[in-house]
């Protein structure tokens, strides 16, 4: 219930001034942060005067020095009243924060019940980014603490901002929101976070924020109807619980199995799982019996991974199967990718999670050639898979030369394959030292988990077995210090996790039961209800883990494969126009402006079109050869702009590697691979 004439304080000009600070370009900001800071310092002084003058005029007209708004009835009471004149509710005692009240008269604006409803309504109606008062920000200055409350009288907060901008340029970006949005946000506190708490309590919490920051942690949220961007990633400071990690524990390692169709990927892995005791004798017996009944006796091991009836009937892996096993060094998450060319989109989503890959090649006569050279102009999947895993950030490769039994464990055949594959892998960008060559036989279980027993093989092979080869791989670096990013690989429901559960790899940050997460691209807030890893309940998940997350408070429709669970303060951008640095592969049809492609990024796929061919780059040096080329042909490097139809959740490669890789496909073939150099526009 504003007092008469008080709305004068909402002077149009004030907002216009802040509109100038609306800075859409994060990148730009970082670059000019320094100069902006100085600008602010100089420009804020006259502004302060102006504001001071304006508010003074308004107040004198009222005859009141300061007002505080009752959080219950929203009546504006004079500063010196301790309780509301109308309803008698006690004003919060600690409102008078010393540093503040001397500098700026502070007024506490609690949201009215109407506002609460409105906030909820708006949250549903439009997507609302949520801001978490994370310790890094809150502890900066008490000024900013007050600011984040959002309950500050506008005119005063303007003053605050003027001061703030000069002090904390990084934060000022946040302040530049639209006029109308700002008006709303001044009175809107997101209701859901405060469910079950009275507003008074709410106030208490905020007032005492300085000392119990750690306890409140990131659960302490506040909505702000401001910019979509969230905070710059650099601002993020992980909390203690996110970092602590048991060093003695075996590290989780994602391993993807790729290779041409029928190279024996699933059989090889089924065999390993069986030898390691991950598949019981009973199950194996069942598989063997069923396979024999269908006349596919040799598929018995593959059936351990290919569980779909369609996959079994056709003898082809179609989706990525996920299994867990342990080596001496790692807890391995095994991703068995399909080899058939029609299922490469599935293979991409599997490989996007991987830390290393096992490339299975078929040693039998003619089969290796088919996988490598392919038919006609089209290369086989050995070739395509190798290029894809490399472009998806996999740098370590184990080449398992399978079906050695079919060629009598011939050394010359092994060397021949190595001879023709090695130069190609080098061309793909794999370092010689990062490739291990292991001759194996899946069906005869040679050289898998123990050394070879076949004399034909032992006579010339002295190297390590496949499992040991996996152990020699370098463990991946975990991005524990970055904000939460979990890429949704799968949406499902499970009794233990509830109807809305997602599964995926935690690319960075950490999550524990009870934390609030922001679901992109639907921009919904959900609470983590339960966490599971390999079917076992856990309480905390950290970067690198593969988690099944049970969510609460979201609609199943808001969950989608390729979405990202993020820290509510640091939402992932939903890019609508991307600049990519790409390398075209062996394409027959050139890429032109307007070419329609399917854009794959981690688990997301979206039809897209090429909006612009920006420049052609030199293959080796990366220097610009020519601007706006007419078309792109095979094996060229170029900078292009791409428009995804619906927008994808990605990051710039320099900021976040695993979210910054892109594959463009068309007509069942991979046309280009690359990285995101710039997100030009986002939703």
């Amino acid at each position: 219930m504003p007092r008469k004439g008080r709305h004068k304080l909402y002077d149009e000009d004030d907002y216009d001034y802040y509109d100038d600070y609306k800075d859409d370009d994060e990148f730009d900001y970082a670059e000019h942060g320094q100069s902006r800071k100085e600008d602010d310092a100089t420009s804020s002084a006259p502004q302060q005067n102006f504001l001071g003058g304006a508010s003074k005029a308004g107040e004198t007209a009222l005859g009141e020095a300061n007002l505080w708004r009752c959080s219950i009835c929203t009546y504006d009471n004079p500063e010196d009243y301790l309780a509301c004149d109308i309803c008698g509710v006690i004003r919060h005692p600690s409102t008078r924060v010393d540093q503040l009240s001397t500098a700026v008269p502070f007024k506490f604006d609690g949201p009215s019940p109407d506002d609460k409803v409105l906030a909820g309504k708006q949250r549903n109606a439009r997507s609302v980014p949520v801001e978490v008062s994370s310790p890094s920000i809150l502890s900066k200055t008490s000024l900013s603490t007050m600011e984040t409350k959002g309950g500050v009288n506008t005119s005063h907060s303007s003053k605050l901002k003027a001061t703030l901008e000069s002090k904390a340029p990084a934060r000022s970006r946040k302040l530049g929101y639209d006029k109308e949005k700002k008006i709303e946000s001044c009175h809107v506190i997101k209701p859901s976070q405060y469910e079950g708490e009275s507003y008074l309590d709410d106030g208490m919490k905020h007032m005492s924020l300085d000392n119990n920051l750690q306890d409140n942690g990131i659960i302490n949220h506040k909505i702000e109807q401001s910019s979509n961007k969230g905070l710059p990633l650099d601002n993020y400071k992980p909390e203690q619980w996110m970092l602590e990690d048991n060093e003695n524990e075996k590290k989780l390692f994602h391993l993807v199995i790729v290779g041409h169709v029928d190279a024996g990927k699933s059989t090889l892995m089924g065999r390993i799982l069986h030898l390691l005791g991950r598949i019981s004798q009973k199950e194996m017996h069942k598989h063997r019996k069923e396979a024999n009944e269908m006349g596919k006796g040799s598929f018995a091991y593959a059936w351990a991974l290919d569980e779909g009836s369609e996959e079994r009937a056709r003898g082809v892996t179609m989706t990525v199967a996920m299994k867990h096993f342990e080596t001496k060094k790692f807890k391995v998450v095994l991703l068995d990718a399909p080899g058939h060319k029609d299922f490469i989109p599935n293979m991409i989503s599997g490989a996007a999670q991987a830390d290393a890959a096992v490339l299975v090649v078929d040693a039998s006569t003619g089969a290796f050639e088919a996988g490598f050279e392919g038919q006609g102009q089209v290369g086989g999947q050995t070739r395509e898979h190798a290029q894809l895993v490399k472009s998806l950030g996999v740098n370590q490769l184990v080449v398992a030369v399978n079906k050695m039994d079919a060629v009598n464990y011939s050394k010359s055949r092994f060397n021949q394959i190595k001879g023709s594959l090695a130069p190609f892998l080098k061309q793909c960008g794999f370092k010689d030292t990062a490739i291990l060559w292991v001759p194996v036989s899946g069906i005869e279980a040679q050289n898998l988990v123990t050394g070879p027993s076949e004399t034909q093989l032992t006579s010339w092979y002295t190297g390590i077995n496949l499992l040991d080869a996996i152990d020699t791989l370098e463990p991946p670096v975990r991005l524990t210090s970055k904000p939460l990013r979990l890429i949704v690989a799968e949406v499902f429901s499970k009794i233990t996790l509830g109807p809305t559960a997602v599964s995926g790899k935690l690319e960075s940050g950490a999550v524990k039961v009870g934390t609030k997460v922001l679901l992109m691209p639907s921009r919904e807030i959900a609470r983590v209800k339960s966490l599971e890893q390999d079917g076992e309940s856990v309480s905390v998940g950290r970067a690198g883990d593969h988690l099944d997350v049970g969510l609460q408070g979201v609609d199943a429709g808001a969950l989608m494969v390729g979405g990202v669970l993020c820290h509510p303060d640091y939402p992932v951008p939903i890019a609508t126009l991307l600049e990519l640095k790409v390398l075209t592969l062996g394409i027959t049809v050139p890429l032109l402006r307007g070419t329609q492609v399917v854009l794959h990024a981690h688990h997301a796929k979206d039809p897209a079109r090429i909006a612009e061919l920006v420049s052609l780059l030199d293959l080796k040096t990366g220097a610009v050869i020519r601007q706006s080329p007419r078309c792109l042909t095979a094996n060229q490097r170029a900078v292009i702009q791409v428009v995804p139809e619906r927008g994808v959740c990605v990051e710039e490669y320099t900021n976040f590697r695993s979210l910054g890789r892109i594959i463009l496909r068309d007509g069942g073939k991979t046309v280009a691979v690359g990285v995101i150099s710039r997100i030009i526009s986002q939703q």
Partner: protein, 378 residues
């Protein structure tokens, strides 16, 4: 489209009276009517009237109005054509020069008067009124978790239904969840097929997908058809064609239309010809880039040197352009034809036309190489 009357004078000015019969015809009308034309049709307008007591009263009056066209809008889904312009015929309710928006609907006749009927407009009129070109093909594009039902008319493609579900990955004992989700997805798709496919009208139903999705769905559909006695499907089994596509997205339609099994069915349709022409252009561009040109400037230069063998142009260029630019494109089309070249006017409502539209909307295959085009600015 039914042509009721055609009065075109030797100086190419004149009028025609047309009745659109289906949404395809409205699309043709959309392409025919350009800024500056006059369109007369029966319409409804709200008219303010003063009563004897001095009060005002609004009344909806049905009247015939003629407007000078300023803007045309086409709504593909609702099949409505809206024509905005100034009134040119004096009327007791509507002042001369007052704005009015005519809504053209199916089965409502209208009179179109042009100052000049150019060759492109006349061709279009002839094409639009040719009943033999009417034949529809329905394509069902599928991939795991996504299916789209597209109606391919002679000149427009309409997405009739789009079904999206997320299907979980297989996982241990919960494999049942995968099968369940897949079955539900198939059921929804089948319902969409039953709702939108009228086998009496369409020539064939194409089911296209990567992998085995199409076979799986076909099996499911046949099983359900027998179980539930869905006559249309059982009787029209021979009209269903299974084709491989690389994805379930709309742009995979061009692969579908190019596949041999489909080509034999739709050889004579405009859509198929367009797909082929665009494919030829791409092939030329990859094999002999100097014999392919795109962009208005490059094509113009190529035309000046009489190099154009096949001209590919979208109808969007004729529609959006101002009169002078339209005239330029029309004369380009005429002169290419006069020089023995071939001209394909792509419908921007087809996938191939959409793609050509992205590629500046104009392209050409040349008779002889012009390598210096490469160095020229667009």
């Amino acid at each position: 489209m039914k042509l009721l009357r055609k009065d075109i004078a030797p100086d190419a000015s004149g009028s025609v009276k047309l009745v659109p019969e289906e949404s395809e015809d409205l699309w043709h009308a959309y392409n025919l009517i350009i800024q500056g034309d006059r369109v007369a049709a029966v319409t409804v307008r709200k008219v303010q009237r003063e009563t004897s007591t001095g009060g005002r009263e609004a009344e909806r009056v049905r009247l015939k109005l003629a407007v000078e066209v300023e803007a045309v809008e086409f709504d593909n889904v609702a099949s409505v054509l809206r024509i905005r312009g100034k009134n040119v015929v004096e009327n007791e309710h509507v002042k001369l020069g007052a704005y009015h928006t005519l809504e053209l609907d199916k089965q409502r006749s209208f009179v179109l008067t042009k100052v000049q009927w150019d060759s492109v407009a006349l061709d279009l009129l002839k094409h639009a009124c040719d009943p033999s070109t009417n034949a529809d093909v329905i394509a069902l594009l599928m991939q795991e978790g996504l299916s789209q039902l597209c109606l391919l008319g002679p000149s427009i493609t309409t997405t009739k239904a789009k079904i999206e579900t997320s299907i979980p990955r297989k996982r241990g004992a919960a494999i049942a969840g995968y099968d369940k989700a897949l079955n539900k997805f198939f059921e929804n798709t089948l319902q969409a097929v039953l709702r939108h496919v009228d086998f009496g009208v369409v020539r064939c139903l194409i089911i296209a997908s990567p992998g085995f999705m199409k076979d799986q769905f076909y099996d499911y559909m046949m099983l359900e058809a027998t179980r539930r006695e869905i006559r249309p499907i059982i009787e029209n089994k021979s009209k269903i064609i299974l084709v491989h596509a690389s994805s379930g997205y709309k742009h995979a339609l061009k692969e579908v239309l190019a596949s041999p099994a489909v080509v034999t069915q739709i050889e004579d349709t405009k859509a198929a010809q367009e797909v082929k022409a665009l494919e030829d252009f791409y092939n030329m561009l990859s094999n002999n880039p100097a014999r392919a040109a795109y962009g208005p400037r490059h094509v113009e230069v190529a035309h000046d040197r009489l190099a154009i063998q096949t001209l590919l142009i979208t109808d969007k260029l004729f529609r959006d352009a101002d009169i002078a630019t339209r005239r330029k494109y029309v004369s380009l089309v005429d002169s290419v034809k006069g020089l023995g070249g071939e001209v394909h006017i792509f419908s921007s409502m087809h996938v191939s036309g959409e793609q050509l539209g992205q590629l500046t909307g104009i392209a050409a295959i040349l008779r002889f190489p012009l390598p210096d085009l490469e160095d020229m600015e667009f």
